[in-house]
């Protein structure tokens, strides 16, 4: 049965339709893989055995009646940030202790409406704040990848570390994830998986625990580009319940795969060439450029002059929005309550016990930059810089560039409890240096595996597109995937 978990979504979809096996058999294969592996990888914070079996049974009935949906019987993992009715939803935080919402997020509702099966909730950095999955209340996720000849545990990236690890270790056919500064693309790059952050407004944010509302977007992490396209088609929608959901029909992303990129203009931004960047990343990028050129694309050098200011601006905007969004966790309506001598003390004690260190740090920074006398110097300034970052991209796209190719991360996966990162929060933040510009400008970005480093660890490239031109990203990423091949970790768990 374990062989069933090796199938991509596209392959499983075909075999389920041909009745080669049942949705129940496929789901059981995944549940058994999770039950064996999760103790070691810690990718799931809740496994919904009963619900998965019931959903698979319902899928089998619909398949028998010829009423199969686009994702009928496909077992998925769901990031703990998405509200799932009557199921553990805690954003991997202690402050949401015991929270089981009475409603379903729009993104997950869309997936179930298309016939997908929920395996459980995936571990993540607490409230999606982190780049290593080490800030989770449930402990770190372990990357299924290890350096050659080493038994040292590596991080899977973050914040969607559980999603990336589960997809990479074949503990789900695909996973939902979210990306505020790189939280889909960085873990995808660290685990040899494909992750796409769509344009802001493409997936509804309704029922997704809010971190920084002007930056948060949901997207899939998948084993290959085609599976990512299949998942995004189901996740995306126009939603009345989210006022930032954009009124545009969802295209058939899968149809873009395999289309030629001949004549496309691919921009190479000079500002992404960092001092001290590992040579392997530089070589990988050059390889990616060659693949694009070999496939008939025109390569053009471009400049995005405000790139270096994206990360500092992000560390004002995101904490400011987070400090406001996380004000709701007060021990009154849901989750943890720690008693206090009066109501204010109850709030303070609850939040002191319920939030982890990174979350507190960001709430404090956000509160500070929004406080009287500092708003103009920090928040307003950052929002102006954001306008300049977006303008950089607009000017490049106006010059006829179709997509931009960059490295996805400045390094491969690093060790759990890395001392340097633990002692300096800014070092950890630099993980998002190539991805965060995309969130600041609301653009779509995809990370696709492109090679291995000298230690045998996966490295990814990123493609950035124009607003709502995700199809261009699937087309171009598929060219890289065809040239680079696919990468899988050696099973040790």
């Amino acid at each position: 049965m374990t062989e069933l978990t090796k199938l991509t979504i596209a392959e499983a979809r075909e075999k389920l339709a041909a009745k080669a096996f049942t949705a129940t058999e496929l789901t059981e294969a995944y549940l058994s893989a999770i039950d064996t592996a999760n103790e070691k990888l810690n990718a799931y914070v809740a496994v919904t055995h009963d619900k998965a079996r019931a959903m698979a049974k319902a899928s089998d009935e619909r398949i028998a009646k010829g009423e199969a949906g686009a994702l009928e019987g496909i077992p998925l993992g769901i990031k703990d940030l998405f509200a799932t009715e009557d199921v553990h939803t805690q954003a991997s935080s202690h402050i949401l202790d015991g929270f089981k919402p009475k409603y379903e997020s729009t993104v997950t509702a869309n997936l179930w409406a298309d016939g997908a099966v929920m395996l459980g909730k995936l571990n993540m950095d607490e409230f999606a704040m982190g780049s290593s999955n080490e800030t989770s209340y449930y402990g770190p996720v372990i990357n299924p990848w290890r350096a050659e000849g080493s038994n040292a545990d590596l991080v899977p990236g973050g914040s969607s570390g559980g999603s990336a690890a589960a997809v990479s270790a074949l503990l789900c056919a695909g996973a939902t994830a979210t990306d505020t500064g790189g939280s889909i693309r960085q873990p995808a790059a660290f685990t040899g998986t494909v992750g796409i952050k769509p344009t802001y407004g493409r997936c509804s944010r309704w029922g997704t625990v809010a971190f920084a509302s002007s930056l948060d977007q949901a997207g899939p992490i998948a084993r290959d580009v085609r599976d990512a396209a299949i998942l995004l088609k189901s996740m995306a929608s126009v939603d009345e319940k989210d006022t930032t959901s954009v009124d545009l029909p969802v295209p058939d992303y899968e149809a873009a795969i395999g289309q030629s990129i001949k004549g496309m203009k691919i921009g190479i931004p000079r500002e992404y060439r960092l001092d001290g960047m590992p040579e392997e990343i530089e070589a990988l990028w050059k390889q990616g450029i060659d693949w694009m050129r070999d496939a008939g694309a025109e390569i053009v050098d471009i400049s995005l002059p405000h790139t270096k200011y994206a990360l500092p601006a992000y560390y004002i905007v995101a904490p400011a929005e987070a400090s406001s969004n996380l004000a709701r966790y007060d021990g009154v309506r849901y989750g943890l309550r720690v008693p206090g001598k009066d109501i204010a003390d109850m709030y303070e004690q609850t939040r002191a016990a319920g939030f982890g260190r990174e979350v507190k740090r960001r709430i404090m920074i956000g509160t500070y930059v929004l406080s009287a006398g500092y708003y103009d110097a920090y928040y307003l300034k950052a929002q102006k810089v954001r306008t300049l970052i977006k303008r950089d991209f607009e000017q490049v796209f106006d010059q006829g560039v179709d997509a931009i190719l960059t490295p996805a991360t400045p390094s491969a996966a690093f060790g759990i409890a890395d001392q340097e990162m633990a002692s300096d929060p800014v070092k950890m933040y630099l993980n998002d240096i190539f991805t965060v510009t995309v969130n600041m400008a609301g653009l779509p970005g995809i990370a696709v595996p492109a090679g291995l480093d000298a230690k045998g660890l996966p490295l990814g490239l990123q493609l950035i597109g124009k607003p709502f031109e995700e199809e261009t990203l699937f087309r171009t990423a598929h060219v890289i995937e065809q040239a680079a091949g696919r990468f899988a970790p050696n099973k040790w768990w």
Partner: protein
């Protein structure tokens, strides 16, 4: 700009997060590291630049001001740490 320990304690109070002296001491260093990092924004000339309000140029959607949902008090208090007769219960606020 940098913060001192008293400012950190004041911000913690505004954030409704209880901190002891050791926490505040540690946070002062961490917050200053982050504030030092964002300082580089001072290099950017933003004269005449509008602050971003929406990444996607679209008008905010509006809807009819009508009741579309409701009658689910049980659901709303279902996750409350303490509730009574569909009310959230908190420590006494007024004497």
């Amino acid at each position: 700009m940098s913060v001192d320990i008293d400012t950190v304690k004041r911000v913690a109070r505004l954030s409704r997060i209880a901190v002891d002296d050791a926490d505040a001491e540690r946070m002062t260093g961490e917050l200053n590291a982050i504030l030092g990092f964002v300082e580089q924004l001072n290099e950017v000339n933003v004269e005449g630049v509008e602050p971003m309000t929406s990444v996607i140029p679209m008008a905010m959607k509006k809807r009819q001001d009508g009741v579309t949902d409701g009658n689910k008090a049980d659901d709303i208090v279902a996750n409350a740490p303490v509730s009574e007769d569909n009310f959230f219960v908190v420590p006494k606020v007024v004497e």
